[in-house]
């Protein structure tokens, strides 16, 4: 198939961005979206032009590196997939495809379609962990009984790959789905319950400092999330936060 691509280009973090139009021909419907961009970049390199910079790594939907706002949706028009898992068969011959980077104050553009998502790392560093003594006699986690439903909910929350599609798609550029998934996966398990009070307070504080917006429950994040992270997690984090802010000791 032949396609017209409208791609956001920005030479560097402080450069002014622009939309550029490119043509690609003979794209196979079996290609992934990123393979289609590889074809474009080969063309650009052959012509001596600067290739389009975009994030990618595993290309099998598990690393959380690929992003892209495709035709007005995070990870494109398909559901439950990342951009690397998006097949070109979802498009038609002659289509015009808009490709833009994630847009958020907390995700500044590095170059073209690449954004800096280290704000997520800083939120994790603020509390997204359990402090475990690894001196050599760590208890076998399987020895601690955990209700099946809790284990399932924690696992579902833990499938978040931190790609940032929730932020990109939210009209408020809110990171609540990401942060709540991380808070939930730990708060639901015995090992994580020990630090739950300060975890939620610190992670939310960091989230606000990073410049993400606030949740207004539009539910767009849940729809666009490639891993199907549920809004239940946001409600759980709201409960955790409410409880923690009422009961946390004074520092």
């Amino acid at each position: 198939m032949n396609l017209t691509l409208k791609i956001y280009r920005q030479d560097g973090p402080n450069a002014k961005g622009r939309m550029e139009t490119y043509q690609v021909a003979d794209i196979s419907e079996h290609m992934s979206f990123l393979e289609m961009l590889d074809v474009l970049n080969e063309q650009l390199v052959a012509k001596g032009e600067e290739p389009v910079a975009f994030d990618h790594d595993c290309r099998e939907g598990i690393c959380g590196m690929c992003s892209l706002y495709i035709n007005g949706e995070a990870h494109g028009p398909d559901r439950g997939v990342t951009t690397c898992q998006l097949h070109m068969r979802k498009f038609k011959d002659g289509d015009t495809i808009y490709i833009e980077p994630w847009r958020s104050k907390a995700f500044p553009v590095v170059k073209d379609l690449v954004v800096d998502r280290s704000s997520f790392d800083r939120i994790m560093a603020a509390g997204g962990f359990v402090s475990v003594n690894t001196s050599g006699n760590t208890q076998d986690a399987n020895a601690i009984p955990i209700p099946k439903t809790d284990a399932d909910k924690a696992f579902d929350a833990a499938t978040c790959i931190g790609c940032g599609a929730c932020v990109a798609t939210c009209k408020n550029a809110s990171a609540m789905l990401f942060v709540s998934a991380k808070v939930s996966q730990l708060a639901l398990l015995p090992q994580g319950k020990v630090e739950r009070t300060h975890r939620v307070l610190n992670m939310v504080e960091r989230m606000d400092k990073e410049g993400f917006g606030n949740c207004t429950n539009t539910g767009a994040c849940e729809v666009e999330c490639p891993k199907g992270i549920s809004l239940e997690n946001i409600a759980r984090m709201n409960r955790e936060y409410l409880k923690a802010s009422l009961t946390a000791d004074k520092d």
Binding site: E73, Y98, G213, N214, V223
Partner: protein, 200 residues
Amino acid sequence: MALTGLFLITFITLHLAINLLTMVSKDAFNEASHFMATNPLIQVMQYVLAAGFLIHIVMGINLTLKNKSARPEKYAYNRPSANSGFSSRSMIITGMLVLVFLVLHLRDYFVELKFGDMNGFDNDYDLVVTLFGMWYYTLIYVLAFIALGIHLNHGFQSAFQSMGANHSRYTPLIKKLGAVYCVIIAAGFSAIAIFHFVNA
């Protein structure tokens, strides 16, 4: 937003119940109206209600401004309708429409009843009903209630989610209740306005 929203939801439900009396009997409404104007607890609640409105409005505007600033660069091409409902994305717009209506509503009724000369009428019922004789007044009311209905369609269930009340067993019920509730409010108030316009 959630707490003040649920408080205002309680108020508007009571308001609708009293207003529905205008379609039942003149005396019943006048009596209810008199009770609301004289009961000491209600007098105190008037100030709580005003505070509830103010907090809800100021917080709503503040929230919108903060959220807008979280995305300084807009998308060239965005399809929000693919993943979210219209009512959830238009809360500030429907909220502002209701606010404009609220100013008009307070001037014509609340101020007249409490501080004015009641437009020359000797009872609350006649003051309320007469204004609906004007077609444009009824139309403004109906449009405002549609805006309020859209606002509540998102607001009702959203308030529960914000307070952490999300449960696989109850959330579907809350969402259905919210959908029915916003129709009852919008249709109920609109019906009153249209009823008095037709009977004027």
